[in-house]
């Protein structure tokens, strides 16, 4: 059996239904065999698109996202996507071609040392040197990608290994015992859980802070809500956990951090017991660590990755556990308690953010309008920048896995291909992409994928002709020196939409947000909706870099 057949058989055995990729010299023997398998291949126009699409697919489904690329430039084009997935702990398997074994290390045509390049930005890299290794490598790669703290795994395979004829059974892949032990699930320590339960009920001002690790279970929304109710305790969700807690209720504080809500940051700074689950105290959440949660006598930090415990914020009760197991166990052990005074204090700090007076198309109201079309069946995907923060602040993702965004790496260009991955995974769901004109132009070549597969993605372009977030920083901290952040010449957007058979709608004023817009958002076809938002609008709240969370600014 050929190496390529072994590989594709193994992928099928892993339950892989979709692969995103782009062929090239070293993977021709792999693509040559593709038609004999049930795996669907989605051809992107650029490998970066393939990586982000596989990532979006993984975030939407919880399954492992898979992408293919050729050696050299194809593989290096995946790098941004791999680093993005790595920072947000997204399970992916990236299969890269490599030059033939004989040419390895000779600077052969399209050779790049990808195992070296990918090592610091992935969970693990496998280099295959013989086709007989493929079953074990694939089995272990999928195991490593999903177990412990999830992450992207890279497999580098020389071209001649794909065409190597090898006499082995293809379905006999094994995870080495050592690896199985390394990622053995942690048993939740009942004593620790009861300690946390006791801390919460005895605290005067408890706060539950949840992060991306809690996304992994759909039932978690219910569990976290029950915990909040039972303990009568406010809950804040980081950017990575938007959708994990039901929005707009008494306990929901929204997002903490640099662009977090006033109430979330107030609560972080005034709580006496902080229970952080499945999050890693990113600097965008903590701002200056030394002034983070100064009143918290107890900081409980629950994470599956021991290296995250104590990395930035010292905890008084560190717990290494799977967030899902911990939360389930916490709910069981929690006794009913009341924190009415604290919750009343918290409510006083809810603050409506006001758009600039006289704004014709204020981004906040625009995004809130789009949010009206969000239902249980909607997946929100964002790019990176101002629009991302507006979406995180003012939209209400209905469930876990319905707010897909590049958090840790902050990858502009991520959103559009990721929305393709989500829509491919769920053809019947409504995928709404919130993007900006800066981000969208980074990966808009993937419009061809929309056209080919007639994907009904609703591209909401928050178009302000700026690299908005950088522009905002230049305005606030660099004396309005708008160096290279003005995108005065972009494409003719309606012609761009027409070129790819996309419906186009332009919105210039808030009054134009009406039934026509709703109809577009709820249509069966794809739309490019061009919102010419107020150029002067900035993202607020904001905690300036180098300041503590107390120094929150809510407007100009």
């Amino acid at each position: 059996m050929l190496g390529a057949d072994i590989l594709l058989n193994c992928l099928e055995a892993q339950g892989v239904e979709v692969v995103f990729g782009l062929p090239g010299g070293t993977v021709i023997p792999l693509y040559d065999r593709l038609k004999h398998f049930r795996i669907r291949h989605v051809l992107t126009k650029h490998e970066q698109g393939a990586a982000h699409a596989a990532d979006g697919y993984a975030r939407a489904t919880g399954k492992v996202g898979v992408c293919f690329a050729t050696s050299g430039p194809g593989a290096t084009n995946l790098v941004t996507g791999i680093a993005t997935a790595n920072m947000d702990s997204i399970p992916m398997v990236c299969i890269m071609g490599q030059v033939v074994r004989e040419l390895l290390g000779t600077d052969g045509f399209q050779e790049a040392h990808m195992s070296g390049v990918c090592q610091p930005i992935s969970k693990h890299v496998y280099t295959v040197s013989d086709a007989s290794q493929i079953p074990d490598v694939i089995e272990e790669a999928f195991f490593v990608a999903q177990n412990g703290r999830p992450g992207p795994v890279v497999i580098d395979i020389p071209k001649d290994v794909f065409s190597q004829d090898c006499q082995i059974a293809f379905d006999s892949g094994k995870v080495r015992n050592r690896i199985a032990v390394k990622y053995k699930p942690y048993q939740v320590n009942k004593e620790q859980v009861s300690k946390v339960a006791k801390l919460i009920s005895e605290a005067k001002k408890p706060l539950l802070l949840i992060g991306g690790g809690v996304n992994n279970l759909q039932e978690n929304q219910d569990i976290v809500f029950k915990i909040a109710k039972k303990a009568d305790m406010p809950v804040s969700t980081t950017l990575m956990a938007r959708g994990v807690f039901p929005n707009d209720n008494y306990y929901d504080l929204g997002m903490p951090g640099m662009h977090g809500t006033v109430v979330a940051n107030y609560t972080v700074q005034h709580c006496d017991c902080l229970v952080a689950v499945g999050m890693r105290f990113d600097d965008r959440v903590t701002s200056v660590v030394s002034s983070f949660a100064p009143n918290a006598e107890h900081i409980v930090h629950v994470d599956i990755d021991p290296a995250e415990i104590g990395k930035t914020v010292a905890s008084t009760l560190p717990i290494v556990a799977d967030s899902n197991d911990f939360l389930t166990s916490l709910l069981e052990n929690l006794s009913e308690s009341k924190h009415s005074e604290w919750l009343a204090e918290v409510q006083e700090h809810r603050q409506e953010i006001k758009s600039p007076v006289g704004s014709v198309l204020p981004p906040k109201e625009t995004v809130e309008w789009i949010d009206k079309s969000v239902d249980e069946n909607t997946i929100i995907v964002t790019d990176v920048g101002q629009h991302q923060m507006w979406a995180a602040l003012f939209m209400n993702p209905p469930k876990p896995r319905t707010f897909i965004t590049s958090g840790g790496l902050g990858t502009m260009g991520y959103g559009f291909p990721a929305s393709i991955g989500a829509q491919i995974a769920y053809p019947d769901k409504r995928v709404i992409l919130i993007t900006g004109d800066g981000s969208f132009q980074m990966c808009m070549q993937e419009l061809a994928v929309l056209r080919k597969f007639k994907l009904p993605i609703k591209i909401c372009l928050l178009n302000n002709g700026y690299l908005g977030m950088v522009h905002q920083w230049q305005q606030m901290f660099y004396e309005e020196n708008y160096s290279e952040t003005i995108l005065d010449v972009g494409p003719d957007w309606d012609k761009l939409a027409a070129a790819y058979d996309l419906n186009y709608l332009r919105i210039d004023r808030l009054e134009q947000c009406d039934e026509k817009l709703t109809a577009a958002l709820e249509d069966k076809e794809g739309w490019l909706i061009d919102f010419r938002i107020d150029q002067s609008a900035n993202v607020y709240p904001m905690v300036p870099a180098g300041k503590g969370l107390d120094d929150i600014v809510v407007g100009e």
Binding site: P120, I179, D305, A307, G310, K311
Partner: protein, 161 residues
Amino acid sequence: MKHTLAVLVENNPGVLAKVANLFSRRGYNIESLVVSDTEDKSISRMTIMVDGDEKIIEQVTKQLHKLVDVIKVNDLTYDETVRRQLLLVRVSADRENRGEIIQLMDIFRARIIDIGRRSLIIEATGDEEKIDAIIKSLQPFGVQEIVKTGISAMVRSPKDK
């Protein structure tokens, strides 16, 4: 404080690069590093000396353990260990002071392994203190060249019955 970490890794190409990468990426400084295969040819042992406070060492250990190729990480700092380093040093020596150097090296149980017209090469093993002492004692004669391996360390066997 200096810590000595014994790290068992898979004997694969690229593992050394991964470990070195981890240290450089996280900004930890390797003082010395010794790598060799072990009684099991599929496993290599790295003895890494790293300087840092408890928090840094904890992070180094955890981050090392996150690497899939890393099998085990032991901090030997607080264990009873045998520690050895190999030193080769070329020192200026003529007929007049050669005898003096040889006598001196006898005290340290160091060996002369090469005699040239104007220099000697001396070989010595020992822990860091001994190696430092040897170098210091040779300095008045004129040290021309020093080659040292890093520290290798092994935990002492239990002495109780």
